[in-house]
Amino acid sequence: MREMIISELSQALHEMARGFAHFLPRLIVMLILAFAGWVIAYVVKAVLRSILRLIKFDKLSENAGASQLLTNAALPSATEMLSRFVFWLTWLGFILLGVRVLGILGLQDQIARFFLFLPRLFGAIFILFFGLLAASFFSRAALLAAVNANVPSPRVLSLALRSIIIVFVLSIVFEELGLAEQTMLVAFGIAFGALMLGLAIAFGIGGRDLAKRFLEKRFVRGKKEENEDELSPL
């Protein structure tokens, strides 16, 4: 009996030692991967930060209105944010690669899914950034055009256009990420429809006179406006 216990124990210790001997190299590989990943991620971050500073990415982000959002949320600049994001993403990628080497069952699928998700995540960030840029550009263009055409409430017009573009961009982003696609589709439909209906009602009922003046100005020729400038700038 005693011998059996000792034998089982020594066998267990042997197996543990053998298991550890098998596991140790993989752990070392994982640690090496994690360390190498950190170094690579750090280099990537430094290079990316230099490139972003070179192309004045902060200015682009300021134009897109993203900088304002970051400042309000007490976050660092867009360049810093993106650099850090890429750093963590790269390092996490290497760590997950290392974890995969460990051969722990159950984690393999999750890691594979994570790597498959990465392109979609990048796509979504890309769409979001340029969507915000487009929203900022077109809303400012609308604001300037409305001010110079003496259209009443130019800021409301600009804000409405900005909201429409942002709602549209967000719906694409969520679709790209594959998050609550159906919910987002319905929510987008409702929000967009409500916005359009609201504008139609506002323009048709609230702005009857405005619409009348606009249509007269647009289509009735030969009637010179009373308040027209009579000065030639040139």
Binding site: R140, N150, E228, D229, P233, L234
Partner: protein
């Protein structure tokens, strides 16, 4: 040598038939059948009177007229003129035409004329507007003789104008060009001007023809290139400038043409304008200027209201363009009533210089920067109207001169803004 690949084969054939010339008259047109006939007669008369021994050609660059304008240009022969005027030409007077595009583009039209001038080795050239209703035969002599006989490279016109006409020129283009380049050119942006073959060739060789602007403000760009290149420039008085009624909607395209062109020229011209201090009057044939004082109905209230609305609504845009102190000052005057409202010259100059620096830095879209200046210009125009509503011609000129001196005095501020950008 000109890149003549954009010229049509037919036009090249016409040019070959003409051979070398001494004088070239460029006439860009688009649906000008109503006015082009008398203008061609005037041009021919001007050439016969002023340059009877010169080899001359009229080059019509047409932007897709559908009313037979090119046929009218080429169809009028020299004989149409002789019975009435008793004038004799010693040389053949050619008149050729080309359709450069199906829609008008002033840049392409001028490029066509410049390429023709270079291929024909024209000594002196003049560009005239087909819309100038009060064109006289003497205009040709006034715009061509300084080049043909005196060795000048560019002749810009001066006009007698109504005191409230051309406010963008009197309140921005003239004073700023003068402060930048040190030469008091009254009409740097005009549809009528004369130039030498060498200046035309130099400008033709510049890499500006494919910037996608379709040549908006190309005449101004031409003048600025001459100033930056230190070419010999003079002025000729042409008489009264015909008054053109424009709607308020015309202001933004005008600002784009003038201010956009002027600001974009600052970059390449920096080595020249940064070294200039003060200004001098160029040689001028006839009066330097003239002011008409007849009464004019102007909706001043609308100008001030659009200024105030613009300052309030575009605050976020101005925050990107203007310094905080300038913006605060603009917001203060935007709240003033009609009687107290005053947009001082110094503040206007600072505004313009800060816009110029922001344009170079591209703090936002450059076109948006230019558009944002339009409401502020309305405020300045309002102040100009109020300052000069009861002024005599001399007083109007004194006020313009004071503004010019303010632009010159604050030029170091522009240089400082420019350096901060670097």
């Amino acid at each position: 040598m000109a890149d003549e690949s954009f010229l049509t084969d037919d036009f090249l054939r016409q040019l070959i038939n003409v051979g070398e010339v001494d004088i070239l008259v460029g006439l860009p047109t688009h649906n000008n059948a109503k006015t082009v006939g008398p203008i061609i007669h005037t041009i021919r008369s001007g050439i016969l009177r002023g340059f009877p021994r010169a080899r001359a050609v009229i080059v019509n660059a047409d932007g897709g007229s559908r009313d037979g304008t090119p046929e009218l240009v080429t169809g009028i022969s020299i004989d149409d003129l002789r019975p009435a005027s008793n004038l004799r030409a010693l040389r053949t007077l050619h008149s050729i035409s080309t359709r450069y595009a199906s829609s008008p583009a002033s840049g392409v039209a001028l490029r066509t004329i410049l390429a023709a001038a270079e291929l024909l080795r024209a000594k002196a050239c003049v560009v005239l507007s087909p819309e100038s209703a009060n064109i006289e035969p003497e205009w040709l002599s006034k715009l061509l003789h300084p080049i043909y006989d005196d060795g000048f490279d560019l002749v810009t016109p001066t006009y007698r104008r109504h005191r409230f006409e051309g406010l963008l020129i009197t309140n921005l283009l003239y004073p700023m060009t003068r402060a930048l380049y040190g030469l008091r050119i009254r009409e740097a942006y005009s549809p009528e001007f004369g130039f030498s073959g060498r200046l035309g060739s130099q400008f033709l060789g510049q890499n500006i023809w494919s910037d996608g602007t379709h040549g908006a403000g190309v005449e101004l760009r031409f003048t600025l290139a001459a100033l930056a290149g230190r070419y010999l420039v003079c002025q000729s008085f042409l008489g009264e400038k015909e008054r053109i009624e424009r709607s308020a909607a015309d202001l933004v395209p005008a600002v784009r043409q003038i201010v956009g062109t002027l600001f974009s020229a600052l970059e390449s011209g920096f080595p020249v304008w940064s070294a200039v201090a003060g200004s001098q009057t160029p040689p001028t044939n006839g009066a330097e200027h003239g002011v008409l004082l007849e009464p004019l109905r102007v909706n001043r209230k609308r100008l001030r209201d659009m200024f105030s609305t613009g300052v309030a609504e575009l605050e976020t845009v101005f925050q990107s363009i203007l310094s905080p102190s300038t913006l605060v000052e603009l917001q203060r005057i935007a709240r003033l009533g009609e009687e107290e409202f005053h947009y001082p010259a110094e503040l206007w100059v600072r505004t313009v210089y800060e816009f110029a620096a922001s344009y170079q830095k591209s703090v936002i879209s450059r076109d948006h920067i230019i558009q944002a200046l339009a409401p502020l210009f309305r405020g300045r125009a309002f102040t100009f109207l109020m300052e000069n509503r009861n002024a005599s011609g001399d007083e109007v000129e004194n006020n313009i001169e004071a503004l010019c001196l303010e632009f010159e005095r604050l030029k170091p501020y522009l240089l400082q803004l420019w350096k901060s950008r670097e």
